[in-house]
């Protein structure tokens, strides 16, 4: 064996080992985050956290019940806003043709996808909050819904395109009109992939804080309806984390654990249960 060969083999072993270390590092970061949050958050979780409203500064106890419900309401309304636009837009792109219009739609969707979340927040503030003259759950939902549109639209288009042509042609051969084919044959064939993508988009916006800062604002009380400011988990985490009160830090950990748990659970469910036989879109 020449020296050169020995050298090359050594480099081979070293670099491959190094690459393994990199992979290990990446995975262990996630495990570290999970473990740390579970440890600190778990200790802070109690029944109060899920059922009580926040207490005044300095008083112990109190919880984030309104933030949990607030986040749920925001996400529900955001889906109602974002999913139809994304879904039907995707149907259009996949099923109906054209040159310039679909190109424009795809281009602006990509543009929207790249807009930083804080800029979406500014936009929602301008068109909703200022016009309505108050912060509201609705404004927050508009911001979050807009963020869901690009992912939903592109995934819908991609998964609809994946449905094989023979399936469509068979339906049409049996006399179904185009829209009937789409509604009863194509969409059901693709719904799993679309649902996966929608769930992933939902999980992504569930953790967004920046757009909510100037739209949903926050609330120490319950927020009835859609017209009032509302507390939400990410905003509470942010507010409590940068404060100096130990009790608030404790609650921030608990909220972080709850939020991360929900987001990761959604991701795992979407990626495993729903996407068997379907390839999963990248975030």
């Amino acid at each position: 064996m020449t020296y050169r060969l020995i050298w090359r083999k050594a480099v081979n072993a070293a670099m491959l080992g190094l690459s393994g270390l990199c992979a290990l590092a990446a995975v262990s970061v996630l495990l570290f985050i999970l473990g740390y949050l579970a440890w600190h958050g778990g200790r802070a979780l109690n029944w109060d956290f899920f059922t009580k409203l926040p207490k005044p500064v300095g008083e112990a106890g109190g919880g984030m019940a309104n933030a949990i419900v607030g986040s749920a309401k925001l996400l529900l309304l955001a889906s109602l806003i974002g999913v139809p636009i994304g879904f039907f837009g995707g149907v259009y792109l996949a099923e109906f043709g054209g040159r310039t219009f679909p190109f424009l739609v795809r281009y602006t969707t990509d543009l929207l996808n790249g807009v930083p979340s804080i800029v979406i927040g500014i936009f929602a503030y301008g068109i909703v909050v200022l016009r309505m003259r108050h912060f509201s759950t609705f404004a927050g939902a508009v911001a979050l819904g807009l963020m869901m549109v690009p992912a939903t639209l592109r995934s819908t288009e991609d998964f609809l395109r994946l449905v094989p042509r023979p399936l469509r042609e068979g339906a049409m051969a049996l006399g179904a009109s185009k829209w009937k084919t789409i509604a009863t044959v194509v969409i059901p064939a693709a719904y799993r992939g679309v649902l996966t993508a929608v769930l992933l988009a939902l999980a992504r916006v569930a953790g967004e804080t920046a757009p909510l800062l100037f739209t949903a604002f926050s609330n120490r009380f319950w927020s009835p309806g859609w017209n009032q400011p509302t507390a939400s988990l990410p905003v509470m985490i942010y507010t409590y984390a940068i404060a100096p009160y130990e009790d608030w830090h404790r609650q921030a950990w608990a909220a972080g654990l709850v939020l991360l748990g929900l987001v990761l659970a959604t991701n795992v469910i979407a990626r495993t249960v729903l996407s068997r036989r379907v390839s999963v879109p990248r975030t």
Partner: protein
């Protein structure tokens, strides 16, 4: 279709309460935003008031005085709160006239975290201005050491901490520095948000207190209550009579006493660096900013009632939370001013 139906049911379930207008049965929600300093006492007040009137919810977010003023001017909140009075330009921007109502008195204190130094430090106005201008960089600088004989200060860099958000606390601090230092006045000036020559930015009093607590050799300015609640050491400041005064309720009340007699009608007054032997020089009123004309009948009634309660019953909560009560003359003047809200 089943999906749509269940969604509709869900929507109806989650949308109770109706609007705040006209219904006296549902909860009346009033939104306010602003100063972080009085957050401990405001949150106590709104909580107590809610206990007394369970259908009234006053939601106050401590986002900083600057944000409070801005949101009030935009009309996105029902009332604001600020440690620094609105300037003439800001008042001119308002669509409706804005009334200032002093609530309590507070003080900005220089809080520090120097490992190994347990004694209370004394600060001269020149030292404070120099530190925040960046001309004094080390703890053992003569300007600081001179006022603190007997204390061994380390030869470490001073980590300056200030506010990153628009803050009335900043307003009070920079107002004081502008009065005691020509250099500061020319270079930086006073405001809720200034161009800081040096330092780290923390969000809210909470953020600054948090940063000082976590960062060795740091110096920041916070409201008295935050220093007390977080067990941060804070120093004495030399007042215009030459005495080194530690911020406490007596010193703050003394600072206000002079202003009480000559309080202007709109309650906008600065009481930093006043004359007097026992006054604490960096004290200030903090104000609730309420529009003089409010459309919503319910919210108007709530605000007027709350103000009345705050000036009479509410003042007793001030001292346990390290805020000084308002002088009697000011309270009487304010009670009369409530009538201006129509």
């Amino acid at each position: 279709m089943k999906v749509i139906r269940s969604l509709a049911v869900l929507g109806l379930l989650v949308a109770p309460g109706g609007s705040a207008k006209g219904q006296s049965f549902g909860p009346i929600l009033v939104n306010g935003a602003g100063a972080t300093f009085p957050y401990p006492i405001y949150s106590k007040w709104f909580d107590e008031y809610h206990k007394l009137h369970p259908n009234i919810q006053i939601n106050y977010q401590s986002v900083g005085s600057g944000a409070g003023i801005r949101q009030l001017l935009s009309g996105t909140v029902d009332f604001g709160a600020s440690d620094g009075p609105m300037s003439d330009e800001q008042l001119a921007q308002a669509k409706v006239k804005v009334l200032h109502f002093p609530t309590v008195l507070g003080a900005d204190v220089p809080t520090y975290n120097i490992p190994g130094v347990a004694q209370e430090l004394k600060f001269t106005p020149e030292a404070l201005a120099g530190i925040f201008l960046g001309t004094i960089t080390k703890w053992n600088d003569p300007a600081i050491a001179g006022a603190n004989p007997g204390v061994t200060l380390p030869a470490k860099d001073i980590v300056v901490v200030h506010r990153s958000d628009g803050s009335g606390t900043t307003y009070i601090w920079t107002d004081y520095l502008s009065k005691v230092s020509e250099g500061w006045k020319k270079k930086v000036g006073k405001g809720t948000s200034v161009n800081w020559p040096v330092g780290l930015g923390g969000k809210g009093n909470e953020g600054v207190a948090g940063l000082v607590k976590q960062t060795p050799n740091s110096l920041g300015y916070v409201e008295l209550i935050y220093a007390i609640q977080n067990n941060l050491p804070y120093g004495r400041v030399r007042n215009s009579a030459g005495a080194f005064v530690k911020a406490d309720l007596a010193g703050v009340s003394a600072a206000a006493a002079g202003a009480a007699k000559s309080m202007p009608d709109d309650f906008r007054v600065s009481i930093t660096n006043p004359p007097g032997n026992s006054v604490y020089p960096i004290a200030s009123f903090t104000w609730l900013l309420v529009p003089a004309s409010i459309q919503d009948g319910n919210k108007k009634a709530v605000l007027k009632e709350f103000l009345r309660w705050m000036l009479t019953e509410g003042q007793k909560y001030a001292e346990p939370l390290a805020c000084a009560r308002l002088p009697r003359e000011v309270v009487e003047k304010e009670l009369k001013a409530i009538a201006q809200i129509h």
